[in-house]
Structures are given as structure tokens and as C-alpha cells.
């Protein structure tokens, strides 16, 4: 026998032995399992049914049937029982509400980037039978992955930081006070909410709930969501929707308040041109603010730290790729998840409750009070010697970047078309973001 044939034979024998060995082991291992599985399957999966039974069973699994005849044993996302209303008409109403959100986002251009994902999340969360917002549905999974642990709002904050230019604030530092004053909207509303809960029967909010609601006055979506998930997750849906809706409504809510509190002369005040701000100032500023937060209010550092991280990357000028990702790809991806996750809280049993109306009303008050406080603060600052401030930029102290600054600019131009306030208003605007993050930190420190 030639050498090659011998070695081939040996190889074949070895191969055969190996196959037998592993195959045998595998068979032995799987044999009892396979028997058990087939037995179980035969027991409980499929039963032959008559045609009528089959059709009847199918009809019982349709959405129409589930909406008309709610399943008495169905549980909500938290594993609690729901009322029949929330399982039937409540869902229909909520689906119509999400359609209204689509209309506002697409037809009216109200914050479409967030209202569309939130609205669609809400639509999916209200589907009967499928239980998409439940612990094993994909909306529930998204909620658990990034909202229940406050991850998504923090990532959004990084992106916002990378988009923020602190130049206008650095060139006119005292306008930061306007961003602080506007936070009065938060705390004023907090007092109002607890007073109404205590002395009237209109609302019944706890201190934690009232705090989470009044943060809407900070006009900062991610901060509101961050605080709401920490302090009262049961109100998250309504708080997020209120927060983003009012941010979209800034051009409608703010101008009447601004006009009522100012005289035409004040609105015509021209502000001095902003000086040029160097790169080194912009680079040190985020570290400075973060250091201050570390020393005074560590509870605010998750928000401020993420915000300043994004800004620092941007101003460093050496990590253009990361900066670009934060500003675009990352914030877009997280916005989709954040929207859907918040939408999962628009399930009828959580949104169609009396509290929602209270949240919407209190949120509006918080927003208006914040606007007014900013304008009044600007007027107070004008009583002191020094360069004058146009009170119209005070309203930009409620974050809502950059919408609120644009509103200030537009109102200023109504009285004097040559008066460009946009860059001046960006100062209090970005200070407002820091201010509401600090306010949020205070709330957290008080409840920790």
C-alpha cells in the first residue's frame, strides 16, 4: 500500500473516532431532553380545534375585542390592576391625544424632534394585548435601559453642552443673574403647588411630586426628565410632555408677559456690543463652573458635569470627531430613545388621571412666573449704576435654548428694528441652563 493511502486511512479512522465520540456524547446529552421537550410540547401547545372555535379564539385576540371587552386580568406596566376605562376608552382617547401631538409637531412645528418620538411612543404604549410598554415590551426595555436610571437625559445634556457657546455670557457676565432669577418660576410654583394641595381639594401632591412638577419652570427638558425620574417617576409622562410643549409654546407664552412688564422706552434700550472672548477663557470656563459645583453642590454635578464635559470637548478644539458625534449622532440617537421611553409613560392608566391636568396648569404657571421674574430682575439691575440691560433679555433666563433668546430678539425688534438682542439674550439663556441644573441639584440634595 502506498504511503499516501496509508496515511489517508489513518486520518479517516481518526476522524470517524472523533465524530463518534462527540456525536455519541451529544446524543446521550440531548436524548433525555428531547424526550422531555416533546412530551411538554405535546401536552400544552397545540390542540386541534374546530373551525368556529378557532375563529372565535382569533377574534378574542384582536384589538377591537380587547378595546370593547377589556381583559379583567390585564395588568399595567407596573403589574397593578387597571380600571376598565383605562383599558378601553382611555386607550382610544390617548391614541387620539397622540394624533394631536403628531399634528402639533408636523403641522405647527412644535418641537417635532421630541414630540414625534414621544407621541409615537405613546401610541405604541396604548396598544392593547401587545403590552409594548410592559417590562418585556421594547418600550419598557428602553425605559428601563436609559430612563429609569436617568442615563438618557444626562447624555442629552452632553450634547447640549457641545452645542452651547458660552461666549456671550463670558463677555457680559452679569447677565447670568437673569438666568438665576428666572429659576424663581420653579420655587414659586413649588410653594403654590403645595399650598393648593394643603388648603384646597384641587390637587393632592406630595412635596416630592410638587418639586418634580415645578422643575418644568426651568424650561429645560432633560433636567425635568432627570428630576421627574428621580423624585416621582409616576408623573414622568405628564411632566415631560408639559415641559416640551411649553418650550415649544415659548413664542406664544412669553411675549404678552414681557410686554406687560416693560415700557416702550425700556424695550428700546440698546446694549453695548459684546467684546471678543478668547479661546482660553472659553476653555477654562467649563472647568471653573464644574469646580464651583463640586465645592458648593455636588448633587448638581451629574447634570453640570455632563454639560461641561460636552462644552469642554467642543472648546478644546482637538477632538473635533467626538464633538461632532456629541452634537449630532449621539444626541440624535438618544433623543429617539428618550422620546420613545417617555412615550411609554403615556399609557392611559398613567396619563389619563386628574393629576395630569394639575401638572399642565402648574407647569404653565411655573413657566410664566419664571419669565416674569427674569424681566423683573433685569429692571432691578437697571436701578443700579452701570451699563443698562434691556429687560427683554430677562425672559431668556428660563433656559429653552435658543428659542427664548430668539423671542427676546424678536420683541426687541418690534420696537426698534435696528436693536439686535439675540447675542445679548444668549448670555442669560445659557446661564438659565446652569441655573436650572443648580436648582435641580438643590431639590435632590433636599430629598437625599
Amino acid at each position: 500500500m502506498p504511503y499516501w493511502a496509508k496515511s489517508m486511512k489513518a486520518l479517516l479512522i481518526k476522524l470517524f473516532a472523533v465524530v463518534m465520540l462527540f456525536g455519541g456524547v451529544a446524543l446521550m446529552a440531548s436524548a433525555p431532553h428531547a424526550q422531555a421537550e416533546t412530551a411538554v410540547q405535546q401536552e400544552d401547545t397545540y390542540k386541534s380545534q374546530g373551525m368556529f372555535e378557532m375563529v372565535g379564539g382569533f377574534i378574542e385576540s384582536t384589538g377591537i375585542y380587547a378595546l370593547i371587552n377589556p381583559d379583567p386580568n390585564e395588568l399595567n406596566a407596573h403589574g397593578e390592576k387597571m380600571s376598565d376605562f383605562h383599558k378601553s376608552w382611555g386607550r382610544v382617547i390617548m391614541i387620539l391625544v397622540t394624533f394631536l401631538m403628531f399634528y402639533l409637531a408636523i403641522g405647527k412645528g412644535f418641537e417635532p424632534l421630541l414630540l414625534l418620538p414621544i407621541g409615537f411612543g405613546g401610541l405604541l404604549a396604548n396598544i392593547p394585548v401587545a403590552d409594548i410598554a410592559g417590562p418585556h415590551g421594547f418600550l419598557g426595555v428602553i425605559y428601563q435601559a436609559g430612563l429609569a436610571n436617568e442615563l438618557f437625559p444626562i447624555i442629552i445634556f452632553m450634547g447640549v453642552g457641545a452645542m452651547t457657546d458660552f461666549g456671550p455670557l463670558l463677555s457680559n457676565p452679569k447677565t447670568a443673574l437673569l438666568g438665576g432669577a428666572a429659576q424663581f418660576g420653579i420655587f414659586g410654583t413649588l410653594v403654590g403647588a403645595v399650598a393648593l394641595s394643603q388648603y384646597t381639594d384641587i390637587f393632592d401632591f406630595t412635596l416630592k411630586q410638587a418639586s418634580a412638577i415645578s422643575i418644568i419652570g426651568g424650561a429645560d427638558g432633560p433636567t425635568s426628565i432627570f428630576i421627574a425620574t428621580k423624585l416621582s417617576p409616576e408623573l414622568l409622562g405628564a411632566i415631560a410632555v408639559a415641559s416640551y410643549s411649553y418650550m415649544a409654546l415659548v413664542p406664544i407664552i412669553q411675549p404678552p408677559i414681557m410686554r406687560a412688564l416693560t415700557t416702550p422706552e425700556e424695550r428700546k434700550i440698546k446694549m453695548t456690543t459684546l467684546r471678543h472672548v478668547g479661546r482660553m477663557e472659553k476653555l477654562i470656563f467649563p472647568i471653573l463652573v464644574l469646580t464651583l459645583a463640586i465645592l458648593i453642590l455636588p448633587d448638581a454635578t451629574p447634570l453640570i458635569g455632563a454639560f461641561m464635559f460636552g462644552n469642554f470637548l467642543k472648546e478644546s478644539g482637538v477632538v473635533e470627531r467626538l464633538n461632532d458625534t456629541l452634537q449630532n449622532a449621539l444626541i440624535n440617537i438618544v433623543t429617539i430613545f428618550l422620546g420613545l421611553g417617555v412615550g411609554s409613560k403615556l399609557a392611559a392608566d398613567q396619563f389619563l388621571v386628574a393629576e395630569t391636568l394639575g401638572i399642565l396648569a402648574l407647569g404653565l404657571i411655573a413657566f410664566s412666573v419664571g419669565t416674569a421674574a427674569g424681566v423683573i430682575m433685569a429692571k432691578i439691575m437697571n436701578k443700579f449704576p452701570g451699563t443698562k440691560v434691556n429687560p427683554l433679555i430677562g425672559s431668556a433666563g428660563v433656559s429653552a435654548v435658543p428659542m427664548a433668546a430668539r423671542v427676546s430678539n424678536k420683541e426687541g425688534m418690534k420696537d426698534d428694528p435696528t436693536n439686535m438682542l439675540l447675542m445679548h439674550a444668549m448670555g442669560p439663556n445659557v446661564a438659565g441652563v446652569i441655573g436650572s441644573a443648580v436648582a435641580a441639584g438643590v431639590m435632590l440634595s433636599l430629598f437625599s
Partner: protein
């Protein structure tokens, strides 16, 4: 024992507004000092000129490179022919 929520709320408001304003006032003070120091010891105008000239120099470099590459390609083509 009933806690007076309104009084709690007012305490929150007082502490909250004080902290927010204190934080921002400190920020304004530090920010102003920082700007002054930087403007004094690391004056910006020169930096601006430098970076501006640097970028034009870079542009000039790029143009030179492009010219060199085109020349090389042309040369190569000629040899090929």
C-alpha cells in the same frame, strides 16, 4: 403628626433661590477675574493674529501640496506616454 407643606415649600424656595443666586454670583465673580487674568497675561489679539496667520500658512501649504501632486501626476503621465 401633620407636616405643614406650605412652610416646607417656603423653606425650599428660600434655600433654593439663595443657592442658585449664590452659585451664579460666585460664577460671575470668578468668571470676571478669570477674564481679567487671561486678558492681562495671555492677551488674545496676538493669539488671534497667530492662529489666523497659521491657518493661512496651512492653506498655502495645502495649495503647495496640491500643486506638487498635480505636477507629479502630469510628469508620470508624460513618462507613461
Amino acid at each position: 403628626m401633620e407636616v405643614n407643606l406650605v412652610w416646607e415649600g417656603i423653606k425650599f424656595m428660600f434655600l433654593g433661590m439663595t443657592t442658585v443666586l449664590l452659585f451664579l454670583v460666585l460664577m460671575i465673580v470668578l468668571m470676571s477675574y478669570m477674564s481679567k487674568i487671561i486678558q492681562k497675561y495671555f492677551p488674545e489679539p496676538q493669539g488671534v493674529v497667530e492662529t489666523a496667520s497659521g491657518s493661512t500658512a496651512q492653506n498655502a501649504d495645502k495649495k503647495k501640496k496640491i500643486a506638487a501632486i498635480t505636477a507629479a501626476i502630469m510628469h508620470h503621465k508624460k513618462i507613461g506616454n
